[in-house]
Amino acid sequence: MDANGIAEVLAAALPGVAVEVAPTVDLQSTLYIESEHLLSVLQALRDRAELKFEVLAEMTAVDYWPREPRFEVIYLLISVENRLRLRLKVRLPGNDPHVGTATGLWSSANWLEREIWDMFGIAFDGHPDPRRLLMPEDWEGHPARKDYPVQIRKKPESGSPTQLTAEEFRANLLKDRLVRK
């Protein structure tokens, strides 16, 4: 079953939910859905007999800063029985990104969601244990965000902290990225 087949099953199970099929280069079919329908879609993906995605194998997020909507949360689902693989994506805004938790459906979601909260600051509503996972508890900021400082190229001046303007920071990020066609 390809992405269109999965989208059809979803459309039959959940009328009124917009499912967007996206092109893909690898084994996973890719679907985009709206974040408010996430939980019902995940539930249908897990419980419909013709899909039966009983494994949430991987969750991650990508930060497309400064684009808006800024974040994409990716769910990688596997059906062992039906030999299906699906990449389900949700777009989230940069301002107060949050989405429902999948911990009620798959136990593996617990730490995976905590890691995304830790690294990207995307909140999972209803998560039973919403703490940081990898960084220390008192850490400030979310390190995997694109606007989190990583390389500061500025001549240090003694006595003053290294402060970058937003423009300098963006220029630093793009400095070494070579676009060649």
């Binding site: 690898d26 062992v80 070494d176």
Partner: protein, 393 residues
């Protein structure tokens, strides 16, 4: 008569504990010797590899990802390279595929040997460790021959391998593979029918098939609990479908089943390696013939202007990868492993994220040890085979 009052005791196990395979901290609440609750704390080995990778060129990420799961370095780099190759749309020469299979299976044997040794040591059979490290030493020697580096050879490249196999490598690998079955019989003599070992492991840390699925355990832990899923069979890559091997599956789901299953996996890996040795031609291609990605051989760099320019471009600017996203699963020693690689069309990745089987295995730890005995914690941690470098990345 007043009722007896009992108190639970909270004990910190780790972060510095010889049996936590790195730096894992467990806060255990004990009622006598029974564990009432456990909360694992991770992150002590977090080094921000995924963030660092976003600043590097595509090729420079390879040594970084090898250091995530430090017991299966070459599986990591192979999974990463295959995701990037998928984005680039590269088709590898058959010889490269066969060499990669040989290296990946040797890496699986290597990782399982370390697992077996440390697990045996932790449940009291210290001699197993010495025997296993003896054989692993030979594998590290093979790595040294391959690339001059024993733990992290960085031999994989996007588009193939760094260079051709060194002279004598295949013969030495064959020698090792012929030696190993006899040695594995020695390990089995020490453990499989050992009364103490069986008592420490049978029925301990058991998990059902449904729980394993829910926890996303696709790998030896899941297969020991009855999930018949192996990426090499379900979604063959590199031509695994042409190799003759079986995927061992057991149903008990306890520590002892995981032990037997990993031993069976090592035997199957030996079979695959021997088949790969038959197929690898002594000379031939070791990378794709794409001048944008594969650097020219050194003798041409020193004698031809064009080759020097090509060499310089690849090592200074790198190559660009078309915008897109790819995840190519491979079967690593700890289960399905893969890298979500996102490119924005430049010469540096936009996001690299490892699917870490150890992270999910570490997550299930709490479920496996609660209501068990404190002595079983050690046996269970050993059996789920977590590598903290992979958990924290």
């Amino acid at each position: 008569m007043p009722e007896l009052r009992t108190e639970t005791m909270t004990v910190n196990m780790g972060p510095q504990h010889p049996s936590t395979h790195g730096v894992l901290r467990l806060v255990l609440e004990l009622d006598g010797e029974t564990i009432r609750s456990a909360s694992p704390t991770i992150g002590y080995l977090h080094t921000g590899i995924e963030k660092t990778a976003e600043q590097k060129k595509w090729q420079q990420v390879i040594p970084l990802v090898e250091r995530m799961d430090y017991l299966s370095a070459q599986s990591n780099s192979m999974a990463y390279c295959m995701s990037v190759e998928k984005l680039l749309g590269l088709e590898l020469p058959q010889r490269v595929k066969d060499i990669r299979i040989l290296i990946a299976e040797l890496q699986r044997i290597n990782s399982h040997l370390v697992w077996l040794g440390t697990h045996g040591m932790e449940v009291g059979a210290v001699s197993v460790l010495f025997y296993c490290l003896r054989e692993r030493e030979l594998l590290l020697n093979l790595n040294e021959r391959l690339a001059g580096f024993r733990f992290f050879p960085s031999y994989m490249r996007v588009g193939g391998l760094r260079e051709d196999l060194p002279r004598g490598y295949l013969a030495e690998a064959r020698q090792f593979l012929e030696r190993l079955p006899g040695k594995m019989a020695e390990y089995e003599d020490l453990l499989t029918k050992n009364e103490i070992y069986i008592r420490r492991t049978k029925g301990v840390g058991a998990i059902t098939r449904e729980e394993a699925l829910s926890y996303g355990l696709l790998g030896p832990i899941g297969r020991a609990a009855g999930i018949d899923y192996d990426v090499r069979k379900a979604y063959p890559y590199l031509g695994y479908e042409t190799y003759d091997f079986k995927v061992p599956v057991r149903t008990e789901g306890d520590v002892y089943a995981r032990y037997l299953l990993r031993l069976d996996e090592m035997r199957e890996s030996i079979k695959i390696c021997l088949q790969a040795l038959e197929r690898i031609a002594p000379v031939g291609e070791y990378a794709v013939a794409d001048p944008r990605i594969t650097p020219p051989p050194k003798d041409r760099v020193y004698t031809e202007m064009e080759a020097l320019i090509q060499h310089f471009l690849i090592y200074s600017q790198g190559f660009t990868v078309p915008a897109g996203e790819a995840y190519v699963p491979v079967e690593g020693p700890r289960g399905e492993q893969g890298f979500t690689v996102v490119s924005d069309g430049t010469n540096r990745p936009m996001r690299v994220k490892s699917r870490a089987p150890s992270l999910l295995a570490c997550q299930v730890l709490e479920r496996l040890i609660v209501n068990g005995q404190i002595a079983d914690v050690i046996a269970v941690i050993g059996s789920i085979d977590v590598v903290m470098g992979d958990v924290d990345r």
